[in-house]
């Protein structure tokens, strides 16, 4: 069959998400952020939330998320996204509010805001990309950097006697009574992308149904920060990150109730 006979609108099985802007993303080649952006754009579109979704962008690599996903956005100060989301959601209860943050933003400088938004059970979605590094500032150690991992500020590898242990944020927020759904996903394979999308979709549905805080941790790669090719990064993530950050649902009140 000829290529031009296949490439026809009626045969299309995968389109660029409608709510993804035309801007070329500033992320490095292979960055997990791009895949998660696509998923978020698809979920907002598929749930018919484009007029209701309000995103809170972080400080870090995803600071420009508002340039890519076509909904209203507020750009927060470093770590403060859950505080903003709290107010946006409480003052606009008909909106579906989500934050999009990295582990440095959320789990270091923004720990208090995260813990308290989760413990109050704000009707928001928190999406955290856990790549174990501060990408934007040049690859320094983050709360989720693995033991032994080399970064700009742990040039000989993270030592727990000096730097403490890598933080399992999903597990921490899962014990808070305000969270209704806590899951850890990845986006390195098609199967993983499907699962991550289902998780983000569920989180948005929870927010719409006012069930409390949904927390979706995505274990991702930062090939620039890790100094590996995107393919090697995926492999390294599977071999090292998943051991410390196992994938799957950590809490789902739909199933326990």
């Amino acid at each position: 069959m000829k290529r031009e006979d296949i490439i026809k609108p009626e045969n299309k099985v995968y389109s660029r998400p409608r709510l993804l802007d035309d801007n070329i993303m500033h992320y490095c080649p292979g960055c997990s952020h791009g895949v998660v952006h696509k998923i978020v754009a698809e979920v907002i579109d598929e749930l018919g939330l484009e007029e209701h979704a309000i995103g809170i962008a972080p400080v870090g690599c995803a600071v420009f998320a508002y340039n890519y996903i076509d909904c209203d956005w507020v750009e927060a100060a470093h770590g403060r996204a859950p505080a903003l989301a709290t107010a946006v959601s409480r003052l606009n209860p008909d909106k579906v509010v989500f934050t999009y943050q990295g582990d440095g933003d959320l789990a270091a400088i923004g720990t208090a805001e995260t813990i308290h938004a989760c413990t109050r059970g704000e009707n928001i979605v928190i999406i955290m990309i856990n790549n174990g590094i501060y990408g934007m500032t040049g690859g320094q150690m983050s709360p989720c950097t693995l033991e032994g991992a080399k970064t700009a500020t742990t040039p000989y590898g993270r030592r727990v006697d000096l730097n403490g242990f890598p933080l399992r944020v999903g597990n921490v927020v899962s014990i808070l009574d305000g969270t209704c759904y806590v899951t850890r996903q990845a986006v390195h394979t098609t199967a993983a992308v499907r699962k991550a999308k289902a998780a983000i979709r569920k989180a948005f549905l929870n927010a719409r149904a006012k069930k409390g805080t949904s927390f979706v941790e995505i274990v991702g790669t930062c090939s620039s920060g890790w100094k590996m090719s995107p393919e090697k990064s995926n492999k390294w993530m599977e071999e090292n990150m998943f051991a410390h950050y196992p994938l799957g649902d950590i809490k789902d009140t739909d199933k326990t109730e």
Partner: protein
Amino acid sequence: MAKIHGAVTIERERCKGCDLCVVACPCDVLALQPKEVNDRGYHFAYPAKEEACIGCAACAMVCPDACIEVYKVIVK
């Protein structure tokens, strides 16, 4: 027996040559341009063996830059 014909379009200027689609493709359809680069200097992905494509969209799903669209025809 039904035969599946797939095809992909890749927005060459959007592609950053990360290679993840090449790795994800189960039929080895895709490759990075060995010499040619796009305006931003990346060896962009292209369907090197397009006749092998089954339109599974694995490449598109893992593409971080959303530059791949997928088409599929099932001929019975």
